[in-house]
Amino acid sequence: MELLLVSVLNGLLYGMLLFMLASGLTLIFSIMGVLNFAHASLYMLGAYFAYEISRRVGFWVALVIAPLLCGLLGALIETYGLRKAHRHGHVAELLFTFGLAFIVEKLVLMVWGPTAVPYRVPPELDFTLFSVYGTHVSAYRGFILLISAAMFAAIWLLLTRTRMGFVIQASLSHPDMVASLGHNVPRVFTTVFAGGAALAGLAGVIGGNYLVTEPAMAFSMGPIVFVVVVFGGLGSLAGCFIASLIMGFVQTFAVVLDISPADLLARLGVAVTPATPLAEVLRVPLPRIGPFLPFLLMVFMLLVRPRGLLGTRDT
């Protein structure tokens, strides 16, 4: 029971982090038509910036400054990189972001070294919020939930209450129509890209110390975020949200449920011996397949519903 509770909490946390990344990715993709490979790189930079800032000034400053820096970086990337690459079409844009992600990883490797940096949870939040059945839930987890909830509320307000928000919403469902609205399309693009980058940076700030801050974090997070976006359906924020939570739960529960297909078969009365075909595959316990599951889910989704959960359009 306590396992269930804690796992639900962890899954929720992870799902929220995923959504913070995936929502930006979806918005950028839906509006600009760019699959931003560098999105997870901005998440990583957010974490590293936060590490540097909190080391010098403090976590609370980092919480504000690091996402802003990422947003600024995003605006620069959009204005000086993507817009140029766009002349050669969407493929060039995608390749540009891929190259960028690659370079950022190598730069981070060069600047901060190959191992994880000691980016820690701030001491103010490093206490036990409450305990269930002897399992401690740290205040920082509550804080992550709080921040992400506040963030989503803010985005929702921005999208539904502001002029820019309306344009963004309109272009989500009718991407070709934005231009004809007579709107300043480049500004919408820059805003969306910078906003997405800032969100990714924020995810890095609060996720970097919760998980780990290392050069591999971008390339390990990136694919999962893609899975979330494909699974939820391109162009759908709601689908993206549901998919984030599903992936969060799947990943967390896979870690705690220590069973393997062989165990299940044993319950059905079939014993798996080393001689059984695929014995190795059948005996792998669920926690070890954890990283595997999102991709399996994605392939499954594509087979049964190529548009994704709530997707409205093909790619």
Partner: protein, 433 residues
């Protein structure tokens, strides 16, 4: 890509110098181990042979990648899977041969790789090729991760962290070779490279190859001509896996060890880099890219930690300014060259190249300075450039590098515009315009 406007079947003239170029490239590949011979010890230069073998393997790999990216307009981010998995299969087959369970002539091992590549590509390709464009890119990326995760998970097939090793001296050669010396493997790899290149070249001229290009240009229209685009993409994907598999088998035979690096994201990224730096619009473009990337990896990699950054920057520069890649640039100059108007451009080129070179120098200096400062910081022990004559943390060096980059860059940019104008003027008179 829009950059390179290539005319197919452009008349007899192109054919003879085209095949002349192919044959001289082949001749060079055959002779190079003897040109770079280590006379002092009376043996082949190990480094050079390793480099050549790697180039051959990567050429096949990059060309197989271009069957997707260039011909079919499919951007794969997990192509290493179809090199790595066949490499694992091959290395297991080699071990089985060594143990006497199997008998396959060593010369035909690449075929084992190819067929397993075909099967893996068919398996993964079926769901993947239902998609195209962005979704395809994301899914292949996911599949790359999936297989990498599997490689660390299943010890039996993938051998865990240490990978799987084998000895390539199998004694099953039809030619009586031992394949112990690296040079013998090189010639085997070269032979299979030639076979693969010829086959891929021919494949591009078959109904499937042409329909793949049609799908790339306009996937919807294809359906109204009776074809199912999924079917076309699927076949093309599977065949591309076949050739990647050949590269995989050669990889296993050359290195005698396969680890999860062979299926990993770095190699997948390399396929992309080689292909796009070389040029997707021209058949031989990826070979140029493979040569260049292998050279950067091995030679620049010897002296600098930052070679990957250079590859990445070169890639981005190509994507932004020359989407046809190096081959696209070369082809673009063909008509101008043939009509003897290239001289008119030389001065303009020099005007861009000189400051451009300075900017590159400045950039390299900055990266290298950064790299050595950081290295000093991480490894506790200051790095000295030129035997301690220069302190990498000195602001003078940094300032100099930055100045070179900025000044050279801005001059090169201005001259670049002038060059573009001049090019337009000249190209107007030729068929390049």
């Amino acid at each position: 890509m829009s950059g390179a406007t290539i005319r197919r079947r452009g008349g007899a003239r192109r054919t003879w110098w085209g095949s002349w170029a192919w044959f001289s490239a082949l001749g060079l590949a055959v002779l190079l181990p003897w040109i770079i011979f280590d006379w002092r010890h009376g043996r082949h230069d190990g480094f050079a042979v390793a480099l050549l073998t790697q180039t051959a393997i990567m050429s096949v790999f990059a060309l197989s990648y271009n069957m997707l990216s260039g011909q079919s307009g499919l951007l794969s981010f997990g192509h290493a899977v179809f090199l790595g998995l066949p490499a694992y299969v091959t290395i297991h087959v080699m071990n089985a041969i060594a143990a006497g369970h199997l008998w396959i002539p060593e010369e035909l091992l690449p075929l084992v790789g190819g067929i397993s590549g075909l099967l893996f590509a068919a398996l993964f390709g079926y769901p993947t090729t239902r998609q195209r464009a962005t979704a395809f890119a994301m899914i292949t990326f996911g599949i790359g991760e999936l297989v990498t995760a599997a490689a660390t998970m299943f010890q039996g097939f993938f051998g865990g962290e240490g990978g799987v090793t084998a000895d390539r001296a199998l004694n099953t050669s039809l030619l009586g070779l031992s394949y112990e010396p690296a040079i013998e493997v090189y010639y085997l790899a070269l032979a299979w490279t030639v076979i693969a290149v010829v086959l891929m070249r021919l494949l591009a001229r078959t109904p499937l190859g042409r329909m793949a290009e049609a799908c790339r240009d306009n996937h919807e229209r294809v359906r109204f001509l009776g074809y199912d685009p999924h079917g076309i993409r699927f076949c093309q994907f599977a065949l591309s896996g076949f050739f990647a598999g050949i590269a995989g088998a050669l990889y296993a035979m050359t290195y005698e060890i396969v680890t999860y690096d062979a299926v990993g994201a770095t190699l997948s990224g390399n396929a992309l880099f080689m292909t796009f730096i070389g040029g997707v619009g021209v058949f031989w473009g990826p070979i140029v890219g493979a040569v260049l990337v292998v050279i950067m990896q091995s030679w620049v990699g010897l002296v600098s930690n930052a070679w990957q950054i250079y590859v990445g920057v070169l890639f981005i520069a190509m994507v932004m300014y020359a989407p046809g890649g190096l081959a696209g640039l070369i082809v673009l100059h063909g008509p101008v060259w043939q009509e003897g108007r290239i001289q008119a451009l030389l001065l303009s080129y020099a005007r861009v190249a000189l400051p451009g070179l300075l900017a590159v120098l400045g950039f390299v200096a900055l990266v290298e300075l950064g790299s050595s400062v950081m290295l000093g910081e991480h490894e506790k022990g200051a790095v000295r450039l030129f035997g301690g004559a220069l302190d990498p943390a000195s602001p003078w060096l940094w300032g100099g590098g930055a100045a070179l980059l900025l000044i050279g860059g801005s001059i090169a940019r201005r001259q670049g515009r002038a060059l573009a104008a001049r090019w337009a003027l000249i190209a107007e008179g030729t068929s390049a315009g």
